[in-house]
């Protein structure tokens, strides 16, 4: 009986994640439910952000709680619309969260929240030059992925579907193509995951982790959904390692024909 995998097979900038579920920290009904979702699921990474705040605000309490979870912290540049804005935000996040890791988001369209890949590549080039370990939120475009890697990224995070939609993997072909083209690069499906089956599907096609937030935070029972997502990523990773069968169009009997009674 193989062990159920939890640690990621590939290291992310030298760090093996304790679990392939990367979980956002926004939109939960309460801080207590957020903390319990992490503890119950065993998620390996928590994404966090920076926002304006007056003195004595809730941010310090939040940050203390996240540190108590003892998970890897991945700050984001959510809401940035230019390379310059994302770079400054990344610099500020590195100081506050004491990590070189940055989930680099540069939004290009307000309806789809899809990344501006031109600004993303430029920001990646500058930030990796400053020693950042960039996790770029990108599309599944193969050429963009090549340029991100050339700019110094060592991880790719293509979207499954637009942020917050829960539509799952909109372009499985594109995601499979990226996986096949870059077999050694740690890759994460980031955004669009709505159900555990989506998370499992991402892992089954060979992705190393999934990053999601809304699907758990907005579930009726976020803690139970976090656990379901964690189990789904584990099942998907186990299935991928087990070498799934090839799909085919025509039926092939699984029950042996030899020895079948002649009753017609």
């Amino acid at each position: 009986m193989p062990d159920t995998p939890t640690a990621t097979a590939k290291p992310f900038y030298g760090t093996v994640l304790s679990h392939p579920l990367m979980l956002g920290t926004a939109q939960y009904p309460s801080p207590a439910i957020l903390a319990e979702a992490f503890r119950a699921s065993g998620a390996g990474v928590a994404t966090v952000s920076l926002r304006r705040e007056g003195a004595g605000g809730a941010g310090q309490t939040f940050w203390a709680m996240i540190r108590d979870l003892e998970v890897a912290v991945l700050p984001n540049t959510a809401g940035c619309h230019s390379a310059k804005e994302a770079i400054t935000t990344a610099q500020m996040a590195r100081e506050v969260f004491e990590t070189d890791w940055i989930k680099l988001e540069v939004i290009g369209n307000t309806d789809t929240l899809q990344p501006d890949v031109f600004e993303l590549v430029e920001a990646t080039r500058i930030l990796t030059g400053e020693g950042f370990k960039v996790f770029p939120y990108c599309t599944e475009d193969l050429v963009v992925a090549e340029k991100l890697l050339a700019a110094g990224a060592e991880v790719l995070m293509p979207w499954g579907a637009p942020i917050g939609t829960g539509l799952g993997l909109n372009n499985p072909y594109g995601l499979r193509t990226l996986r096949a083209r870059f077999p050694d690069i740690p890759m994460v499906v980031d955004a669009g995951i709505g159900l555990p089956s989506h998370a499992a599907a991402a892992m089954e096609i060979g992705y190393d982790a999934v990053l999601l937030n809304t699907a758990v935070a907005k579930a009726g029972d976020p803690v139970a959904m976090a656990v379901a997502m964690a189990r789904a990523t584990e099942a998907g990773a186990l299935a991928q390692a087990a070498d799934p069968m090839e799909a085919r169009d025509m039926a092939a009997a699984s029950t042996p024909v030899i020895g079948q009674a002649f009753l017609s």
């Binding site: 956002g24 926004a26 304006r52 705040e53 003195a55 004595g56 941010g59 940050w63 500020m92 506050v96």
Partner: protein, 64 residues
């Protein structure tokens, strides 16, 4: 002098970024930017302010 702090025009006495944080009562972990450029914590005491400067003071927050 008047500064624009987190998007709001504010009258302050502080002449440096470090003094501004003290004047505003910030004791927790925050990051600062002056006129859209990052100012590291170690540079705040030497960062003088001018009327109309735009200051961003950011704190940890939930994110996806």
């Amino acid at each position: 002098m008047q500064l624009v702090i987190n998007g709001t025009a504010t009258e302050v006495a502080a002449m440096t970024l470090a003094d501004l944080l003290t004047e505003l009562g910030h004791i927790g972990t925050v990051a600062t930017a002056l006129n859209e450029s990052f100012v590291p914590v170690g540079a705040r005491a030497g960062q003088t302010l001018s009327p109309g400067d735009r200051i961003e003071i950011l704190a940890p927050m939930q994110g996806g």
